[in-house]
């Protein structure tokens, strides 16, 4: 899993039909210090996360299981990144906010 911050959204009409109910969000990776590394990935979002929130992103079959459990039945989901947790509080985040305000 990877910690990141939701920075935006992607809209696509032509996409895998099984993913139609889910939003596709842009997430920037957060390093150990809480600062963003600048690496951006696209993750399916079933939690309706607000932009700007810190989240945990799962990869691979873990991501598909988060959307629909069943390793053999969720193969129609063309997806390998999903937002699985919205982080409420994090000491690293507080540190980085302190850095910004400085």
């Amino acid at each position: 899993m990877l910690k990141g911050r939701v920075i935006g959204e992607v809209w696509a009409t032509k996409k895998c039909p099984a993913l139609a109910p889910y939003r596709l969000r842009l997430v920037v990776e957060q390093g150990a210090s809480g600062a963003s590394t600048g690496r951006v990935l696209v993750a399916a979002d079933e939690l309706d996360t607000e932009t700007g929130r810190l989240v945990m992103v799962s990869f691979g079959s873990g991501a598909r299981n988060a959307i629909r459990p069943g390793a053999s039945t969720n193969r129609d989901l063309v997806c390998e990144c999903a937002i699985t947790q919205v982080i409420e509080g994090d000491s690293a985040e507080e540190d980085s906010e302190r850095d910004v305000s400085r």
Binding site: V10, W11, T13, K15, L26, E29, V42, T51, C79, E80
Partner: protein, 127 residues
């Protein structure tokens, strides 16, 4: 998944037999998250969506591209899973002003806020 732009197409006569009939696209990723693969270009198959040069697409890596085409025996690990209509980035959340950049080569950078829609200058996307 990663965000990328289609910059070209690859044709090959001698290729794996299971790849016959599939379109192979050359894409340039924006800000790839996987450091082990920080190449400027990536080749992805386009099983269903018929993406063209200049389109922004979402590339899915790993096993799903195989299931989307012909199953576990397919020799692929990257596929186009969506063609992007619109993309919005919140500048405040993205942090310090930083354009969304292509990796590798001269960066046709994108203004934060909206993915640029004009095609890359001719010649830039060639392998």
């Amino acid at each position: 998944m990663i965000l990328a732009r289609v910059v070209g197409e690859v044709w090959a006569t001698r290729k794996h037999r299971r790849l016959q009939g599939y379109k192979l696209l050359v894409v340039r990723p924006y800000c790839w998250y996987e450091p082990a693969h920080e190449a400027g270009h990536l080749v992805a198959i386009d099983p269903k969506l018929d993406a063209g040069r200049g389109d922004d697409v979402i590339i899915c890596m790993g096993a799903p591209p195989r299931w989307q085409s012909e199953g576990d025996a397919m020799p692929v690990e990257a596929a186009v899973m969506a063609v992007v209509d619109r993309c919005e980035i919140d500048e405040a959340a993205f942090g310090p002003p930083r354009p969304l950049e292509f990796l590798g080569g001269p960066p046709p950078t994108l203004a934060v806020g909206r993915i640029r829609t004009e095609p890359i200058a001719p010649g830039r996307g060639r392998c």
